[in-house]
């Protein structure tokens, strides 16, 4: 399939119009439809459309400040859109009661950018936390589950360490064990590769793939690490200016002729996203001197 065939510059899934609504509901875990969202009058999203298909790894990429983390907060019901719909398993997140929202979140696991481990608990208690709070399982069974999940991320031996004793990569692996401890249907990763050394990055990359395939999960990865996403994701969306500017299979996006997609995927300094912040002419600015600048 060529890049031009796969790309859809409006962000609408090209297949969606040909399917029945029942078919879409079962195949699409998350549907974001024409979402508008502003903060202090600044539009973060202006007509955002994204679909996350079951069983696949979907990536959302974009330059810093394009609202990738805001998108996750919208999806998980931490904030609500000004207009449009965020549907998770066919249910509108904005219409959910707090109880329904919590029930939905129990079917989701989220890996935060910094791990977000609870600092007053050791590794074991951090991973056991969702089970202890949300289930009535006996402590012995919880212990078995937690050790199995820690084994899966390679940190069973670190069960009694405190979060301050972990490296950045280890903290993220513990957070991943915590995210999967309740066997969720969907895993959300917020910048999972940020600030990691190459070894930790490779480990996290493999774990995301293995978790998704072995546990039959649906994964959403929000990142701007293009090379890692190209290796990992089945489907990618690129956000800019509050909407999806390109979507399609990740490998196809790499070969796109679209200027913005090329700039982003190839890490070019200048292009549709300008290198320079808007400023007056350099000569005028310099000649204006300190006095004018301070005024």
């Amino acid at each position: 399939m060529s890049a031009t065939e796969t790309l859809n510059q409006t962000g609408q899934n090209p297949e969606s119009s040909t399917r029945t609504s029942a078919g879409i509901a079962s195949e699409h875990l998350v549907d974001i439809r024409d979402v508008h969202y502003s903060v202090n009058g600044r539009a973060i999203f202006a007509g955002l459309n994204i679909t996350i298909q079951r069983g696949r790894i979907t990536a959302v990429m974009g330059p810093s400040g394009t609202g990738k983390t805001t998108l996750l907060r919208l999806m998980t019901g931490q904030i609500h859109a000004d207009s449009g719909q965020v549907l998770v398993e066919g249910e509108d997140v904005a219409r959910m009661s707090r109880k329904e929202l919590f029930a939905m979140r129990q079917r989701m696991g989220m890996l935060f950018q910094n791990g977000a481990l609870l600092t007053d608990m050791d590794v074991f208690d951090n991973v056991a936390f969702p089970l202890r709070e949300n289930t009535d399982l006996p402590e012995e069974l919880i212990s078995h589950i937690v050790l199995a999940k820690l084994q899966a991320v390679g940190l069973r031996g670190a069960w009694d360490l405190m979060p301050t004793e972990l490296s950045g990569g280890m903290a993220r692996r513990v957070a991943l064990a915590r995210a999967i401890v309740t066997d969720p249907a969907m895993l959300i990763y917020d910048e999972p590769f940020a600030g990691l050394d190459p070894i930790s990055m490779g480990v996290i990359l493999r774990l995301i793939r293995q978790m998704n395939d072995a546990l039959k999960l649906t994964s959403l990865v929000v990142s701007h690490d293009v090379d890692e996403i190209a290796m990992l994701a089945d489907m990618s969306y690129i956000l800019a200016g509050g909407k999806v500017v390109a979507s399609g299979e990740t490998k196809a996006l790499k070969n796109s002729n679209d200027e913005l997609v090329r700039q982003f995927m190839n890490g070019m300094a200048d292009g549709p996203v300008p290198f320079h912040y808007p400023a007056p002419e350099f000569r005028e600015h310099v000649l204006a001197g300190t006095e004018a600048r301070s005024a």
Binding site: R105, Q106, F112, A116, L117, L118, F129, E133, N134
Partner: protein
Amino acid sequence: MTLIRELFGNVVTFIANTGALALFFARLMAQIPAALLRPSLIVRQVHNAGGLSLVIIMTCGLVVGMVLGLQGYELLARFGSEESLGTGAGLALLKELGPVLTALLFAGRAGTALASEIGLMKATDQLAAMEMMAVDSVRYVIAPRFLGGVIAVPMLTAVFIMIGLFGVQLVGVQQLGVDQGTFWSQLRGSIDIEDVLEGVTKGAAFGVACSLIAVHEGFRADPTAEGVGRATTRAVVNSAVLVLILDYMLTAVFF
């Protein structure tokens, strides 16, 4: 014109903040029954807020009592009634100095610790992570800390008053020669149940006020280093102001 606009803006901000505090308090109250079912979390917070403040409370109580002994003796000596030192010091500590100074010390030590701890939990996404794990952060984090403070402050107040009385006795009886029997009998004879009730009411009210301000400031802190710093400052300043205002109101009620 600018002054009026600024004044108007400050009034609007004050009303908005008061409303936000009231809403937060209502949300907190709704989670208190569930939090009470987890006594281990509350006991840990009583230890953090109360147990760890004990040394500073005892030290300050002793020093305040000793100063009260010196000042009280000098004042009473002018009227030739040094023997009333026990009455004066006892009433001052029980009704005023004990509850107020304990609350101010609590706000300075435990209140700032609460605000900064909760603010940092917010800045490091720990509260958001709890919400994502379907755990109510107000029930799990805020309510036990609030209850810990509410329980700790009256107990710390009692300790402050007892150590303060010991300090008064140390200076008045041991150093300045007031008769020991007269000191204690005057103290017992002049304090009635209403005085004790006033002290207990103030201790409880200040405990609620200081704990509420501390957890609220931490919870609404901007998730940055600067935001947490500002929240900590606001916690101690707002607590001190509220304690003094409440002190006047409660004193007027019991007058």
